[in-house]
């Protein structure tokens, strides 16, 4: 497995509101995520975990700082390009399942493909494949609402992987499940990580889940707090970029460096 940096941030800040209600949710985050690794984002409630994940997933724009995807600065990208990136490269799993409850399981899984503009046959084929991976192909015709919580979350995972993403973002994927069911979901996610090399970015309160990840990123009051890790350090000196620029997208990295200067 290569050690390409797939996502990196420089001086990421996010401020909500104005005046008296102004609140700094993120106060300068520098981190990078290596292709194929699994990262847990942990921290107290309200510390800014979800905010960080939304920024990394390009769902929201930072107030300051920037995010590079595959070495390319994303702040200059047009909205249509961002939509495409999210559709093709990212998969999402949320705590509260987030699906169209009255629609069939199959339709829910096919949604990203429909948005991508795929034909009906290809959609069905890929969605059935994704459902087979999570072991729910026999429930394809069921109404999404009729499934159990664990099954719903598996449908969401199927939807997340249906477009063969590079990164899966999961915001407390086991938060609404009992520990046994949660375990199942976690196993599926890690199997995808191992077998398909999909990068996992998981926001979680669950220490057990966090421990299973290659690395933990702890957020505290919008700052990054270092955490012992098995893989390379998260807080890197700026020179790290120069060393590594050779084996990533050099141009993209240089762009980021220039903007930092």
């Amino acid at each position: 497995m290569s050690k390409n940096v797939i996502l990196s941030t420089r001086g990421l800040r996010k401020t909500y509101g104005r005046g008296d209600s102004r609140f700094e949710a993120l106060r300068g985050i520098n981190l990078e995520i290596i292709e194929g690794e699994s990262v847990a984002i942990i921290g107290k409630s309200g510390s800014g975990k979800s905010t960080l994940m939304h920024l990394l997933a390009l769902l929201d724009k930072p107030t300051k700082g920037n995010i590079a995807l595959d070495g390319e600065n994303t702040s200059k990208l047009r909205q249509s390009k961002l939509n495409k990136l999210r559709n093709k490269k990212f998969g999402f799993v949320f705590q509260s399942f987030f699906m169209n409850a009255n629609d069939s399981v199959l339709n829910n899984v096919m949604l990203p493909l429909k948005i991508a503009g795929l034909g009906a046959r290809a959609r069905r084929r890929k969605a059935m494949h994704a459902l087979r991976i999570v072991g729910l192909d026999d429930k394809a015709k069921n109404k999404a609402n009729d499934l159990s919580g664990g099954q719903k979350q598996r449908v969401c995972i199927a939807r997340a992987i249906v477009n063969d993403p590079e990164i899966i973002f999961a915001d407390e994927p086991t938060g609404n499940l009992d520990s046994a069911t949660g375990e199942k979901i976690i196993n599926i996610l890690f199997r995808l990580n191992r077998e398909k090399g999909i990068t996992l970015i998981i926001v979680t309160h669950d220490p057990e889940l966090a421990a299973k990840c290659d690395r933990q990123i702890r957020i505290s009051d919008g700052h990054l707090a270092s955490e012992p890790s098995k893989t390379p350090p998260t807080q890197l000196p700026p020179t790290y970029y120069e060393h590594n620029s050779g084996d990533t997208d050099a141009d993209g990295m240089l762009d980021i460096m220039e903007e930092q200067a």
Binding site: L59, Q79, K88, F92, F98, L111, I115, A116
Partner: protein
């Protein structure tokens, strides 16, 4: 995303809350129904009036009498129902009957700019004692006149138009004569009937055997009048006037003419005629009042239709705003998964368009069904339109239907832009945090 998928989703979303969708469509339906129905009635009335205009000689037709005759008529009748005082006696004028049009006036009429000189003809009144046929002993009174020149199409129920230059005697009859003379509307065509003139002095009868070429549809303008071709008219007139001195024979009381209504206004023509002591009525003068009456009523109905449509548009806005609110999470998910704002906008706009489309389609279908039922009921024996078989109360034309649909769809789309914009501007994050 494929446009087909967006359209499909829009229709499916409408089916999610069936009652709400139904009520919104019902509101549009009411507007659509009123507008298409009034259009159809207007078209029906106009078709009928046009056929009447044609049977009178078309838009350029002028009926000309001397000013004195006209004044006499008005003096006796009162000016079209206006409540002015009775006309005073004037020994200088003929005030009680028709005064003739002089040869000099006739020549001047032909020279007026805008009047087609060849079209100016004398309207001879024919006196026929009775009509009979081989099928019955009964004899009936009948009033007939020569068809004025020009490309006149009499509104017919059966048969064909007169051949004005034919050498044989031809006549167009109303269907009541067909029945009375022992025939039906259809089988009287090409049969001979006998127009008899009784000599006032000798009591000898002279019969003109005329071929019935067509049956006239009853109308508001030509009611009671039968038409004959020139040959028959000339011969009957000759018989009627055979004892008259030459001076009287050549007297003319009424003229028919055509004017170029595309280049000249009726008022200009009338003014020119007034200058030479003549008075004219156009086809609009004759049937204009009927038309105005219908137009006023129908405009009022149409206005109600538009008001209903306006209310329906507000219904669309309301329905879609509710559905945007309900689907906040769904829209957020769509956008998180890469759907563009443009597609979200399109999807809601298409819902509005679908509401407009179905509302207008149902309105039109129901209007066509009810219109035809009412039309049939009004034409049943004894109903008030039974006497006018060619008068269709409603007339639906493809351009009318399409333009009403287009109008409603455009209104629905415009109404839908407000909620669609709101949906398109939704932020995926807010939607994700929305409970």
């Amino acid at each position: 995303m494929k446009i087909f998928d967006i359209i499909k989703d829009a229709n499916q979303n409408l089916l999610r809350n069936k009652l709400r969708t139904f009520l919104t469509i019902l509101a549009i339906f009411i507007g659509s129904f009123s507008i298409i129905s009034t259009s159809a009635i207007q078209a029906g009335v106009n078709d009928f009036i046009d056929s009447q205009v044609d049977s009178y000689g078309g838009d350029g037709y002028l009926a000309i009498v001397s000013q004195d005759s006209f004044d006499a008529l008005e003096g006796l009748q009162g000016n079209m129902g206006n409540n002015n005082s009775p006309t005073e006696y004037n020994p200088e004028k003929i005030q009680t009957g028709m005064s003739p049009i002089t040869d000099e006036q006739l020549q001047k009429v032909k020279q007026i700019d805008g009047i087609d000189a060849d079209s100016v003809v004398e309207q001879k009144s024919l006196s026929i004692s009775y009509v009979s046929s081989d099928k019955t002993e009964q004899k009936y009174l009948l009033s007939a006149e020569a068809l004025p020149p020009g490309n006149i199409k009499v509104d017919l129920e059966a048969g064909k138009q007169l051949d004005l230059r034919a050498d044989e005697y031809q006549i167009l009859l109303e269907s009541r004569y067909a029945d009375a003379l022992g025939y039906t509307t259809d089988n009287i065509i090409d049969q001979q009937i006998h127009l008899v003139v009784v000599d006032e002095y000798t009591q000898k009868e002279k019969s003109f055997d005329a071929t019935v070429v067509g049956v006239i549809a009853p109308g508001v303008v030509s009611m009671g009048q039968q038409y004959v071709n020139n040959k028959l008219a000339d011969d009957i007139y000759a018989e009627n006037t055979k004892y008259y001195p030459e001076a009287v024979k050549s007297q003319t009381f009424a003229l028919a003419a055509n004017y170029d209504y595309e280049k000249y206004s009726a008022d200009d023509i009338k003014k020119s005629l007034t200058e030479i002591g003549l008075s004219a009525m156009t086809i609009q003068d004759i049937i204009g009042q009927i038309k105005t009456f219908f137009d006023v009523i129908l405009t009022v109905f149409k206005l109600f239709g538009f008001i209903a449509l306006l209310a329906a548009a507000i219904g669309i806005i309301n329905t879609l705003f509710m559905s945007v609110q309900e689907r906040t999470r769904e829209i957020g998910l769509d956008k998180a998964l890469g759907m563009s704002s443009g597609h979200v906008f399109l999807s809601f706009s298409l819902e509005a368009i679908a509401l407009g489309f179905w509302g207008s389609v149902f309105g039109i279908i129901v209007s066509v069904i009810i219109g035809n039922l009412v039309n049939a009921a009004f034409h049943a024996d004894g109903s008030f339109l039974a006497a006018f078989p060619t008068f269709n109360l409603v007339s639906y034309t493809i351009p009318d239907i399409l333009s009403v649909m287009l109008l409603i769809i455009v209104i629905a789309f415009l109404a839908g832009t407000l909620p669609a914009r709101k949906a398109a501007h939704k932020n995926p994050i807010d939607a994700l945090r929305y409970e």
